[in-house]
Amino acid sequence: MNLQDKITIMGLTDTGIVRRKNEDAIGYDSALGIVVLADGMGGHRGGEIASHMTVDTVIHQLQQNIPDITPGEVDAGSGFSMESICIQNAVVAANELVYKTAEENSEHKGMGTTIVVLQFYNNSFSLAHIGDSRCYRMRADKLEQITKDHSLLQELIDRGFYTPEEARNSMNKNLVTRALGIDPVVMPDIQEDIVLKNDIYLLCSDGLTDLVEDEDIYLTIKQFSANLEEAAKQLITKANQNGGKDNISVMLCRIDDDFSSKIGWFKKIVAWFDE
């Protein structure tokens, strides 16, 4: 099913006002409902290479594999949809490529990247992430962060040293505990959920969330929900007005219409009540 008319997807990336280069990378395929964002790290262009390599590999792999599967079909062993399995395989492939490239080129040693991948299908999504790039959902006039950062700061919050509010002023913001390309193997966190009409999904790098409060992000998306490009521009402008310390990437996806595949997810819902 072509999702072009069902979901509006748009993305912008900006160097910010402090850095000289943009190490973030974004990419999407509107027809297949694929959205990918990566925030690279590592010296000598390493971050740039890692993030672009990752986005390209993941999109390419998904473009190859997603059209061949039945939307929403579940892998019995893991309980994940086949889309989730495809994403996991794509992330593993990107990890191997970045890791190998870093091993073979001493100047890129230690390069890595965060990643968030969102794949829409059959009125649902699969979402995978590694690191501190995030996915938020705007639904019923509320903004909710649906990924949990792999960062030292999140660990400290989990251990009770900080409240999320106090964490804003911490200096340990930019230490990630998991990244793609650093080790021979990596496991993304994967989740699946149902999509509703008018949902808006935001993928972003920490260049946005470190500088713009969730409340501000909420208000901006609310104000410009009908014009995602304007919403993305406004979010980037706000991050730059607040210091623009890091590269800022913003991707927005709005669900405009139902895109259930033929089998119908409603039928599956009743299935176990009727059994």
């Binding site: 309980g79 911490s170 200096m171 930019n174 505990t177 990244a179 650093i182 699946e192 509703l196």
Partner: protein, 240 residues
């Protein structure tokens, strides 16, 4: 600039302790990094963990408690000038590095067994001990990531309706429950656990309940033995 704890003795003499190690223990008994000979202080009273330029105070189950600026704390992220009280004894935390505007803007990766930070780590010398504790936390994080709660088997048991007693094992990453046109909810498995999400409230826009209270529009984290009500059917969620 190294952060310090400044103690004042009963005779008014000030002593400074630099927080150079990842852990600094404070207590009455010998063997503590900072020993305070005062009966109101417990044998092992509190510890300060220092990561990069931030320090964290943790009470170790002391008898008289640990206070920061007059407030009882279990765990506390220390800020410059904080007044720490252990029993009848006071300590000042000093960190002239300030916070927020330092050189750690560049994202760095910490990982288990890491021997050094990646290059361009803000151009700063990072203390070995800091690397050690960061790596320790990273390794713990990796360990939790490898065995998430999500690996535990979760079940729903119907408590009311025609199928009362029936059990559904939540083997899928996403399970939808309810009745179309009445109320539909989803249970999604995230790495940190299982979450109930309101999907469709039908004509009355009714919201699923957990423990008798309607959940909001945000994902609601489920605890074992939570009683869920969707589409008028009660069910118990539990982890095996």
């Amino acid at each position: 600039m190294v952060a310090k704890l400044i103690t004042t003795s009963s005779t008014g003499e000030k002593t400074e302790f630099e927080l150079v190690n990842e852990t600094t223990t404070i207590g009455r008994k010998p063997g503590n990094d900072i020993q305070i000979d005062n009966l109101s202080v417990s044998g092992r009273h509190a510890q300060v963990i220092t990561i990069l330029e931030d320090s964290f105070l943790e009470d170790l189950g002391s008898t008289n408690g640990t206070y920061v600026n007059g407030k009882l704390v279990k765990k506390h992220a220390l800020e410059n000038g904080d007044n720490i009280t252990l029993g009848k004894y006071q300590i000042i935390y000093q960190n002239s590095a300030g916070s927020g505007e330092q050189d750690f803007e560049q994202t760095m990766i910490i990982r288990p067994g890491e021997e050094g930070m990646p290059e361009e780590a803000g151009g700063k010398e990072i203390d070995k001990s800091v690397q050690k504790i960061s790596a320790a936390i990273a390794s713990e994080a990796a360990a939790t990531a490898a065995s998430p709660m999500a690996n535990r088997e979760a079940c729903l048991q119907l408590l009311s309706g025609a199928n009362a007693g029936k059990e559904l094992i939540l083997t899928k990453a996403l399970t939808t429950i309810g009745q179309p046109g009445v109320q539909v909810a989803a249970i999604t498995r995230r790495p940190q656990g299982f979450f109930l999400i309101h999907v469709d409230g039908g004509p009355n826009n009714s919201v699923p309940k957990v423990g008798g209270s309607p959940i909001g529009s945000n994902a609601h984290e489920l605890k074992s033995h939570d009683i869920i009500e969707v589409a008028g059917v009660k069910m118990e969620f539990y982890l095996k």
